[in-house]
C-alpha cells in the first residue's frame, strides 16, 4: 500500500508551498488535487495585504492583525520567511518577483481602467509600479482581434482616475500581429504560446514596435501574454526591441501570470520529490478517533489508498471548491466535514459583491488553533493531524483585503514547519495573548 509522511490536498499556493517546504525537509509528500487552482483565475501578483488605507503590505498586515480574528493574528511571523523562500524558489525556476513587505502599495492599472493596489508582482508587471516621472506617458498597446484587452476603454477610464502621481498622458493603440488574424476567438493562452516561438516572436515584437506613436517617453502596457514557458526571454527581447519600459497587464482567465506561477511551483515541487497528482479527487478518508490515517483518491482504475501521518488541507475557499454552499443554507467543507464558521444564509450576500467591501460570506471559513488544526465552535481541536491552509481559513476576506496570497504562503509555510517539528508553539513568543485562542472569534 502506498504511503506518505504527509498528504497535501489542493494544488494552490498554500498546498504547493506546504508540499515543497515539507519535501525540502526530507518528508515524503503526496499532493493530490481535484483540478487546477485559483491561480489560473488570479492576476499572478502576490497580494499580501492591502486593506483600505494600507501603505505597504507590512502595514496592511498590521492593520488586519489588529482587527483580531484574522489568520495573520497567528501567521504574521511566518510571512517574511515564507515570502523569502518563495521568491528564492521562483527565481530558481526562472520566474523573478519584485517587491517585499515594505514596498509601498501603488496603483496597478487594470484592463478596464480600474486601479488596484499592488506591491509584490512578477518582474513582467513591475514597471507598472515604478513612480511616474514628469513627461512620462502610458501607452496601452493592445493586439488586434484579442478579445480580452481593451486599450481604448482602459485609457478613457484611466484618464479620469485619481492617480497621483500618474502618467503625464495616456494613449492607446493596437498592433496586428503576424499570422493570427485568421484565428477565431483568440485568448491569452494562444497568444502566450505563440510568443514562446522565437521566430514568430521577433516578427510580433517588430509589429508592436511599429505601432508606438513617434515621440516622447512611454511606459508601454501590453496584455499579459508575453510567453508561457519562455517568458523571461520574451520579456527581455520585448524590452530591448521596443526601446521603452514594458509591462504586462493581467486580464480575463486563463491568467498567463497565474499559469506561470503555478507551473513554476509545480515544477519545483516535482523537483524536490513531491508526488504530484492533479486531476485526482479525494474519494474518502480513514480515521482513528481524531486522527486521519489514510486518504483515498479516485485513481484511473480503482480507488488509491494512501496511508499517512499528517494531512494538509489546502482546498481553497468558496471559489476554489474547498467550501461549498448547500441549498439548506449551510456552508460545508466537503472532504473532511470540518465545522465551518459562516454567517446565516440570509446574510450571505449582504453588502456589495462587486464593491470594495464585498459581502458577509467572504469571511466564512474553517477556524483553527495556532497549530492550524481545525477547531469546533468551542475551540476544541477536531482533527489532531490536519492543518488547514490558504483561503479555507476563517476570518479573512481575500478580495476586500487583498490578502489571499500572503495567507496562503504563510499558512503553507507554517504547516510545513509544524509538521516537521520546527514550530511546536511558534507564536507564543510573538503574541502571548491570543496564542491559544481560535483564529476567528
Amino acid at each position: 500500500m502506498p504511503s506518505a509522511d504527509v498528504v497535501v490536498i489542493g494544488a494552490g499556493l498554500a498546498g504547493l508551498t506546504a508540499a515543497i517546504e515539507l519535501a525540502e525537509r526530507g518528508a515524503t509528500v503526496q499532493l493530490v488535487a481535484k483540478g487546477m487552482a485559483a491561480t489560473h483565475w488570479a492576476h499572478g501578483g502576490l497580494d499580501v495585504a492591502a486593506p483600505p488605507g494600507a501603505r505597504s503590505p507590512a502595514n496592511g498586515v498590521a492593520r488586519l492583525k489588529a482587527r483580531g480574528g484574522h489568520p495573520y493574528a497567528i501567521l504574521e511571523p511566518d510571512l517574511g520567511p515564507a515570502l523569502s523562500a518563495t521568491f528564492a524558489r521562483l527565481a530558481e525556476m526562472g520566474l523573478a518577483y519584485r517587491g517585499d513587505l515594505r514596498t509601498a502599495l501603488r496603483f496597478f492599472p487594470t484592463p478596464i481602467g480600474g486601479l488596484r493596489p499592488a506591491a509584490i508582482v512578477p518582474v513582467g508587471q513591475a514597471p507598472a509600479l515604478e513612480p511616474w516621472s514628469p513627461g512620462e506617458g502610458l501607452l496601452l498597446l493592445g493586439i488586434e482581434r484579442f478579445r480580452d484587452f481593451w486599450p481604448p476603454y482602459a485609457a478613457r477610464n484611466l484618464a479620469r482616475q485619481v492617480w497621483n502621481p500618474g502618467p503625464s498622458r495616456i494613449e492607446s493603440a493596437a498592433a496586428a500581429l503576424p499570422g493570427i488574424l485568421e484565428l477565431r476567438n483568440l485568448n491569452s493562452l494562444v497568444l502566450a504560446r505563440r510568443f514562446d516561438d522565437p521566430s514568430w516572436r521577433a516578427a510580433a515584437v517588430a509589429a508592436l514596435r511599429a505601432t508606438i506613436p513617434g515621440k516622447g517617453r512611454w511606459r508601454i502596457a501590453v496584455p499579459a501574454v508575453l510567453g508561457l514557458e519562455r517568458h523571461a526571454d520574451v520579456l527581455a527581447e520585448a524590452g530591448d526591441a521596443l526601446g521603452h519600459p514594458v509591462f504586462e497587464i493581467p486580464t480575463l482567465p486563463p491568467s498567463i501570470p497565474g499559469l506561470r506561477l503555478f507551473e513554476a511551483l509545480r515544477a519545483r515541487a516535482t523537483a524536490v520529490g513531491v508526488r504530484v497528482q492533479i486531476g485526482f479527487e479525494v474519494a474518502g478518508v480513514e480515521r482513528d478517533g481524531d486522527t486521519i490515517t489514510a486518504v483515498a483518491t479516485h485513481a484511473a482504475a480503482r480507488p488509491l489508498r494512501i496511508s499517512t501521518r499528517d494531512v494538509v488541507l489546502g482546498t481553497g475557499g468558496i471559489g476554489g471548491g474547498g467550501l461549498r454552499g448547500r441549498r439548506d443554507g449551510a456552508l460545508e467543507e466537503p472532504i473532511l466535514g470540518l465545522p465551518v464558521a459562516a454567517p446565516g444564509s440570509a446574510e450571505w450576500l449582504g453588502g456589495d459583491l462587486y464593491g470594495a467591501g464585498g459581502v458577509a460570506l467572504e469571511s466564512a471559513g474553517i477556524r483553527v488553533d495556532d497549530q492550524l488544526r481545525p477547531v469546533d465552535p468551542g475551540g476544541g481541536v477536531v482533527l489532531r493531524n490536519v492543518r488547514v491552509v490558504g483561503s479555507a481559513l476563517a476570518g479573512m476576506r481575500y478580495l476586500a483585503e487583498r490578502c489571499g496570497d500572503g495567507v496562503a504562503l504563510a499558512s503553507g509555510y507554517r504547516a510545513a514547519r509544524l509538521i516537521a517539528g520546527e514550530a511546536s508553539n511558534p507564536s507564543a513568543a510573538e503574541a502571548p495573548g491570543p496564542a491559544r485562542t481560535a483564529v476567528a472569534s
Partner: protein, 539 residues
C-alpha cells in the same frame, strides 16, 4: 408636439401587437414603453407558446384561443419559435380524474393531442420520471419574446409607425368633454419631458395598467400575480413537459435555447415591480420539478426570475358597472378589452388586461377592432395573414443554429463576445446600430448576451469595452447610459437573479466572477458618470 392617431402605452408583446395591428390598418401609432421593450412580464415568462392543453379543463375558452393562436404564430413568426413539441404527463401525484377527462376536454376545445406510449416517452426524454403513468403529446413550442416584439415593431415601422423606449407616461391631456387629447412623456434617462397629441390611448401596460388608467382619470383594479421561475443550466428535456393537473407550482419544464425553465409559482402581490423570488418559491419549484425529472433539485440552477401576470379583478369592475353581487368576483386569466368612455367618462381610453403571451395577437386584434370602431375606421385586421418580418429564409430556431451561422461567418465579426450563448461581435454591433442607446442589459434582450451558465463573467467587460469604443467614436447618443454605469448595472442585475439560488456550483461561479471583477479588474474603482471632470492628479 408630435401628432399621432393612437398612443399605445406598454412595450410588451400585447402593446407591440396593437402597434402593428393598427399601423397595418393605416393608423399612425406611437408605442411608448417606460423601460426597455419586453423588460416587463413579456420578458419574464417561461417562454412557452401554449398548445392550449394547460387550460382545457379550467378555462376552455382560453384553451381554444391558445390552440388557434399557436397555429397562427407557427405560420407568421417561425423565427421566434422552437418547435419543441410538448407532453402532458401524469405523475403518481396527479389526480386520476384529471387524466381521464383530459382527452375529451382537448377534443372539445380544439386542442390537438395524442396519447404517447410510455416506452416512446422514455426513449425521447431519458431523464423524465419513470413512474409517469400516462403521456399526451401536444403542439407546445418555446417562443423568444424579444424577437417577437422586435418583429412586431419592424412591421409597424414598415407601415409608418414607431416605438419609443424609456418613456414614462406622466400625464394624460384631455379635451373639454373628458376625451383623450394627448399624453405627456418623460424620458427616464434624461428627465426630458414632451407631449404627444392623440385621439386614442391604448393602455397595454399589463400588470401596471391600473397605474396608467389612474393617470387618465379612470379606475382599473389589477391584481398582479407574481410567477417565479428557475433557469436550469442545461436542457433537461427536449420537449415541453406539463403535468396533468390543475395549474399549480412547478408544473412545467420548458426547454429554451441551451437551458430549461422550470415554472411557475403564483403569488398575488400589491406592487407589480415587486418581483423578488423568495426561498419558499425556490423550494416549491424544485420539489415539484423533482416529480417531473427526479434529481432535478440537485442539478445546477443558473438563475431565478419572476414576472407579474396582468390579472385583474373582473368582479370588481363588473360590480362597479352592473352591480353584480360580491360572490361573482373572480380573478380571471382570460383577457378583456375595456372601453373607459362610458365606464369612466374617458372617451378614447381603452385598456387590454389579462391574457397570456400566446394570445397576444388575438388580444391586439380585439383591442384594435374596438379602437377602429370608435374612430370609424373599417379596415380589417391582417396580422394573422401577413408574416412578421424576420431574417431571410426564416425558420424555427434549432439548437445548432447559432453555431452553424458563426461557422459560416468569418473574420473578427464572428469572434464570440459571449461564449455561453454564442453572441458574436457582429450581432452586438448590429444590435447597437439598430438601437444605439442600448445598455448592456438592453443588449442582453436583443442578443441573449450574458444569459448562459457563466451569467456574464466574461462578456460583461467585453460588452462594456464595445460601448466605450462607440462612445469614443461619437456614436453614443446622449440618453444612452455611460459604459461604466452600464457595466455596474449589468453585474448588479445578474446578481439579483443569482442571489436566491446561490449555492453549490453557482455560488462558486459567483465567487470566481467576483474574483475577476474585483481582484483582477478592480471594478469598484472605475470612475462614475461621463461628465466627471478629469482630475488634475493625472499629469
Amino acid at each position: 408636439m408630435t401628432d399621432v392617431d393612437v398612443v399605445v402605452v406598454g412595450g410588451g408583446a400585447t402593446g407591440s401587437g396593437v402597434l402593428r395591428d393598427l399601423a397595418m390598418r393605416g393608423l399612425r401609432v406611437l408605442l411608448v414603453e417606460r423601460a426597455d421593450f419586453g423588460s416587463g412580464t413579456s420578458g419574464r415568462y417561461h417562454g412557452l407558446l401554449h398548445s392550449g392543453g394547460r387550460y382545457v379543463v379550467s378555462d376552455p375558452v382560453s384553451a381554444r384561443d391558445c390552440a388557434r393562436e399557436n397555429a397562427v404564430l407557427q405560420r407568421i413568426a417561425p423565427h421566434c419559435l422552437e418547435l419543441t413539441g410538448g407532453y402532458f404527463v401524469a405523475t403518481p401525484d396527479d389526480p386520476d380524474d384529471y387524466l381521464e377527462g383530459f382527452p375529451s376536454a382537448c377534443a372539445d376545445a380544439g386542442v390537438r393531442t395524442e396519447e404517447v406510449p410510455l416506452r416512446e416517452l422514455f426513449a425521447a426524454e431519458p431523464l423524465i420520471n419513470r413512474r409517469i403513468r400516462a403521456a399526451y403529446e401536444v403542439r407546445d413550442a418555446s417562443m423568444e419574446p424579444w424577437e417577437l416584439i422586435d418583429a412586431n415593431h419592424a412591421s409597424a415601422r414598415e407601415h409608418g409607425s414607431d416605438a419609443w423606449r424609456y418613456q414614462a407616461l406622466v400625464g394624460v391631456e384631455r379635451g373639454p368633454d373628458g376625451s383623450v387629447a394627448g399624453v405627456r412623456l418623460e424620458d427616464r434617462r434624461t428627465g426630458e419631458q414632451r407631449g404627444v397629441s392623440c385621439q386614442v390611448i391604448v393602455n397595454a401596460a399589463g400588470a401596471w395598467a391600473g397605474q396608467v388608467a389612474a393617470l387618465a382619470g379612470a379606475t382599473l383594479h389589477m391584481s398582479p400575480g407574481k410567477g417565479s421561475m428557475l433557469i436550469m443550466n442545461r436542457r433537461l428535456t427536449s420537449a415541453v413537459v406539463n403535468r396533468l393537473a390543475q395549474p399549480g407550482d412547478g408544473d412545467i419544464i420548458v426547454p429554451v435555447h441551451t437551458v430549461s425553465i422550470l415554472g411557475t409559482t403564483d403569488v398575488t402581490v400589491d406592487d407589480p415591480d415587486d418581483v423578488r423570488v423568495t426561498a419558499d418559491e425556490v423550494d416549491a419549484l424544485l420539489a415539484d420539478g423533482d416529480r417531473l425529472v427526479p434529481g432535478l433539485s440537485s442539478a445546477r440552477v443558473l438563475r431565478s426570475y419572476a414576472g407579474c401576470r396582468p390579472l385583474y379583478d373582473a368582479g370588481e369592475i363588473e360590480a362597479s358597472d352592473t352591480a353584480h353581487h360580491a360572490q361573482s368576483r373572480e380573478i380571471s386569466r382570460a383577457h378583456h378589452v375595456i372601453d373607459h368612455g362610458a365606464r369612466d367618462g374617458v372617451p378614447g381610453l381603452f385598456s387590454i388586461v389579462g391574457g397570456k403571451l400566446t394570445t397576444y395577437r388575438l388580444m391586439a386584434e380585439q383591442t384594435s377592432d374596438r379602437v377602429c370602431v370608435s374612430l370609424g375606421i373599417e379596415a380589417p385586421c391582417r396580422t394573422a395573414d401577413e408574416l412578421l418580418p424576420g431574417p431571410p429564409g426564416a425558420r424555427p430556431y434549432w439548437l445548432g443554429g447559432r453555431l452553424a451561422a458563426v461557422e459560416a461567418d468569418g473574420g473578427g465579426d464572428a469572434d464570440l463576445v459571449c461564449e455561453c450563448e454564442i453572441v458574436t461581435n457582429s450581432m452586438l454591433r448590429h444590435a447597437l446600430e439598430e438601437r444605439p442607446d442600448s445598455s448592456i442589459d438592453d443588449l442582453r434582450r436583443s442578443t441573449r448576451l450574458g444569459m448562459g451558465p457563466c451569467q456574464g463573467a466574461f462578456c460583461t467587460c467585453r460588452a462594456a469595452a464595445l460601448l466605450a469604443e462607440r462612445a469614443d467614436a461619437g456614436q453614443r447618443p446622449p440618453e444612452a447610459p455611460e459604459p461604466n454605469d452600464s457595466l455596474r448595472a449589468f453585474l448588479a442585475e445578474r446578481l439579483r437573479g443569482a442571489a436566491p439560488i446561490a449555492w453549490g456550483d453557482q455560488l462558486m461561479e459567483l465567487w470566481l466572477e467576483a474574483g475577476v471583477y474585483r481582484g483582477t479588474m478592480a471594478v469598484d474603482t472605475l470612475p462614475a458618470g461621463e461628465d466627471m471632470a478629469p482630475t488634475d492628479a493625472v499629469g
